[in-house]
């Protein structure tokens, strides 16, 4: 209810005047994105332009503003071009202005799936689970980067991961997974698939592009090849067997996907719906599971996370004392994904994988050399 009220208030504040300003700033992002036949030496300039345009979107979403630019009436000294860049990656640029952030999503984002994911985040059934968006700008040209606007939430302190809200994350996931997808009416399109397997495949593509010749790459490939096709994003998940059910999934859980809203003491909420959709809910537990399996996440933190999930009746695993029948494949996939990105990143930075990255690479080696399962008969 609290969330619905906050959302309603934001919507009420969106006058025609502000909607116009929001649309103009968004058009600039779209225009920039549409002109992205960009030689590498000007990529930085284009990125900077996207960031400036996003700052304007965030500014417009946060405050009453003057159409077409000028100083921000709410912040005075900040002009339309001022914003704090929170993230700037090819798959997402996020700029904050005051109480709002604007995000330019990945080029090539499916527009219907994107609008559906935003509508899920705004749906009353997800109140208290997903951060709802602010009214988002009109859609641009088909090839543009879609833009969305969100309230600013306070993230987990990266300098103090030990204080991370593991239990809150687990309970939010359990609540998300228990949402009946059929109850989400009024969406602009069908619920898209959760993009976890697609992201793992994209990580393998990055490995092949950036570090194909690294001595550790063959072990990563071997572990990848042993995953079932659905976990490699090459076929839909099976309707039976180890994938127990299809649930609404976040698709990219990590500690950067949690914020407190309202700041600074509001409840924790999940953010970033870019990979949200229907899939195996075990995928959302698989990254912490992979960290635990690699020997990186302390067993007691893994226990806290898993215990909070099962105590909240999360459906991804059938038994808290043995979650691995459901977690095994997704956790292997996340291990491969993390290892592939570690090789790509370390190659890009001209260094060897560090100790933590090596722990994940070693897990890949074990996955690739594990004795096969007895599969000649169905287990009883």
């Amino acid at each position: 209810m609290r969330r619905t009220a906050a959302f309603g208030r934001s919507a009420g504040e969106l006058t025609g005047h502000r909607a116009f300003a929001l649309g103009r700033a968004a058009d600039r992002v779209h225009a920039l994105a549409a002109s992205r036949a960009t030689p590498p030496d000007t990529l930085h300039d284009v990125t900077a332009s996207v960031v400036r345009a996003l700052a304007a979107v965030a500014r417009d979403a946060a405050h009453l503003s003057t159409p077409g630019g000028g100083p921000c009436q709410a912040c005075g000294a900040l002009s339309a071009r001022d914003g704090e860049t929170l993230a700037n990656r090819p798959d997402g640029t996020v700029v904050r202005h005051g109480s709002a952030v604007a995000k330019a999503h990945a080029p090539g984002t499916d527009p219907v799936a994107h609008r559906t994911r935003l509508a899920v985040a705004a749906h009353p059934a997800l109140a208290g689970v997903l951060l709802p968006p602010l009214p988002h700008p009109p859609d641009g040209p088909a090839q543009a980067r879609p833009v969305s606007a969100w309230p600013y939430g306070a993230p987990v302190d990266p300098g103090d991961p030990d204080a991370a809200p593991w239990e809150d994350a687990a309970v939010l996931l359990a609540r998300l997974h228990r949402i009946a997808p059929a109850g989400l009416t009024g969406l602009p399109g069908p619920l898209p698939p959760m993009r976890g397997p697609a992201k793992a495949a994209a990580a393998m593509a990055r490995l092949e592009a950036a570090a194909a010749d690294h001595p550790a790459a063959p072990d990563v490939r071997r572990a990848w090849a042993r995953l079932p096709a659905w976990a490699r994003g090459q076929s839909p998940p099976p309707a039976h067997g180890r994938v127990r059910r299809s649930a609404l999934c976040h698709g990219d859980l990590h500690l950067g996907q949690l914020v407190r809203h309202p700041t600074p003491d509001g409840p924790w909420l999940l953010i970033d719906v870019d990979d949200l959709g229907l899939g195996d809910p075990a995928w959302d537990l698989a990254r912490p599971a992979a960290w635990f399996a690699a020997g990186l996440l302390p067993p007691e933190i893994w226990q806290r996370f898993l215990g909070a999930y099962t105590a909240a009746n999360g459906p991804a695993v059938t038994r808290a004392d043995d979650p691995w029948p459901q977690l095994d494949v997704p956790a292997k996939a996340l291990t491969v994904q993390t290892a592939a990105l570690a090789l790509a990143k370390s190659a890009a930075e001209g260094r060897q994988p560090d100790e933590v990255e090596r722990a994940v690479l070693e897990a890949c080696t074990r996955i690739g050399t594990q004795p096969p399962e007895l599969e000649f008969e169905t287990p009883s």
């Binding site: 798959d91 987990v156 990266p158 300098g159 991961p161 991370a164 992201k199 990219d252 990590h254 500690l255 950067g256 960290w291 635990f292 399996a293 690699a294 020997g295 990186l296 302390p298 067993p299 893994w302 226990q303 898993l306 038994r319 004392d321 043995d322 979650p323 691995w324 029948p325 977690l327 095994d328 956790a331 292997k332 993390t338 990105l341 560090d354 100790e355 933590v356 990255e357 722990a359 994940v360 070693e362 897990a363 074990r366 996955i367 594990q370 004795p371 399962e373 007895l374 000649f376 008969e377 287990p379 009883s380």
Partner: protein
């Protein structure tokens, strides 16, 4: 039945009319009394050994882990490791 080694669930398979329990985690195989002899008699190709006899269980059992998991956890808590893992915790 739980695996005495890693505590994961064991699944029952039937091979040449002999019941075999295999751990879903570490893939270890458990044979009941007489089953190994039965398999030997049947001249099957099995060369695997039964997992070691149950050791003393730890007071607080460690969480179940997959067979491909790290042999042991923690031990290193250097500054660089913490910083690097901190980055990993926050990235896609």
């Amino acid at each position: 039945m739980q695996c005495p080694k890693c505590h994961a669930a064991m699944h029952t398979y039937n091979r040449n009319s002999v019941q075999i329990e295999q751990c879903s985690g570490c893939r270890g195989i458990f044979l009941d009394y007489g089953e190994l002899e039965a398999l030997t008699r049947l001249e099957s190709q099995w060369a695997q050994q039964a997992p070691p006899a149950p050791q003393a269980y730890p007071a607080a059992p460690a969480p179940a882990a997959p067979a491909w998991g790290a042999p042991h956890h923690g031990g290193h808590h250097g500054h660089h490791r913490q910083r690097s893992f901190g980055r990993m915790l926050f990235s896609s």
